[in-house]
Amino acid sequence: MFPITQNSVSGDRSLPRTILSIFALAGLLSGTLMVPISAGAATPPAETEQAPNWRPTATERLVKLPSAYLNKAVERDFKDSGLSAAIGNTNGKIRAKERTLRDFQAAMDKAEGEVLTELKHQFLAEKQAYIRLLGARQDMSRQHLETKAKIYGKILRKLGNKGSGQSSQKAKLIERQKTARQRFEGALAQVDVKIFSSGVAGESKYSAEFAKNVNAIERLIQALAKHPMNAEPELNGNPISKADYLRGLVANAEADLAILDQEESILGYMAKLVALDAMALAENLEDVTSADGGNTIVSVSSAVDFFASQ
């Protein structure tokens, strides 16, 4: 019911605006572009602003990085990007909007009459803004994940190209060199005993210095192997190659994108519910307006009091 008071006047004035806003919300169903009408509704991100971006490049340095550091380097690059800042900013707005929605819910529990209707309208507008913010975050998250999958794919290709450029002759040579070194290592002690223990001549300068350096090299290699930044990635406790690790990262990014798709359908359902709520509110308001008697002809006798009192 809308009693004819100062409040009701403002309520009447806001009524078409409310209905318009609700119908605009209902436009969600048809997917039309909505214009924020209510002053309480959040303003959409400015179209004129430059879209936040993240454009990493698969440099040679990135390809050569240890597997454990690779992911961290990409994530660090993302954290420094405008896209990451925009996602963080939107997350903040989403949290604030959630608090507002909770406040509206609490207020609606206590309100009644016209105030309740106005609160319902505001609540719907806030929900619309909330969904819009979620949508914006989804878009940016998609951009992040797609870029991540792309960069890991590029690194994987570069890694593949390094090995594939090897000719069969070169591969044979590498194999022969490997066999030669294995044979040499196997006969090393035997040669040392035969040559340097013969008494003809002692250990050469090269051998002595090399043995000394080998100890230092082995200690350094051990330190390198134990270094956390050089740790080989593992899958179920088993060490995996860099290519396998990269393939895993690409698969993870793709999986996150699939989840994002699912979340988008949730957003769609939420938007649909808001639109249906808006339509239901509009229906109720029409009922209230007609029950209020806004279109009924007021009797002339009822205005007699304004004149008779003089």
Binding site: L173, Q177, V191, S204
Partner: protein, 133 residues
């Protein structure tokens, strides 16, 4: 502060690159040195101007030097996958290139081992007949 840390890291990386470059170039020519010393050793074996004592002395010195040179080649990481004729030829026959190591491994005298690798054995020499080709 961050800039200082970044600069320090860049300097360290540059130092690593420079060190690797220097190390790589220091090993250049190991195969050539080995080939030269091996040729001198074989020449010593067949030199008609040397007495037995002189030959033994020269072979002992050359053997020591060759051991080191062979090890330098086998440990030379810059040769890994370097598909040049010299490298390819050197690794195509371990027994001929790394003569000292291979002969000791097979418990043979260097010259015997070298001749055997060329297909010249006492038996083949003894059974050989003089004739027109």
């Amino acid at each position: 502060m961050n800039t200082i840390i970044k600069n320090t890291i860049h300097s360290a990386l540059l130092a690593v690159v420079v060190t690797i470059g220097v190390t790589g170039s220091a090993f250049a020519g190991t195969i050539e040195n080995l080939e030269r010393e091996r040729a001198i050793l074989i020449e010593t074996f067949f030199s008609p101007t040397l007495s037995a004592g002189e030959r033994n002395e020269k072979v002992a010195v050359a053997k020591h030097r060759l051991v080191d040179l062979e090890r330098m080649v086998l440990r030379d990481s810059s040769l890994a996958g370097k598909n040049t004729p010299a490298v390819s030829k050197a690794f195509s026959n371990y027994d001929l290139t790394f003569l000292v190591h291979a002969s000791i491994e097979k418990e043979k005298f260097i010259l015997d081992h070298w001749l055997e690798q060329l297909g010249i054995t006492t038996q083949s020499v003894m059974t050989a007949r003089v004739g027109r080709r």
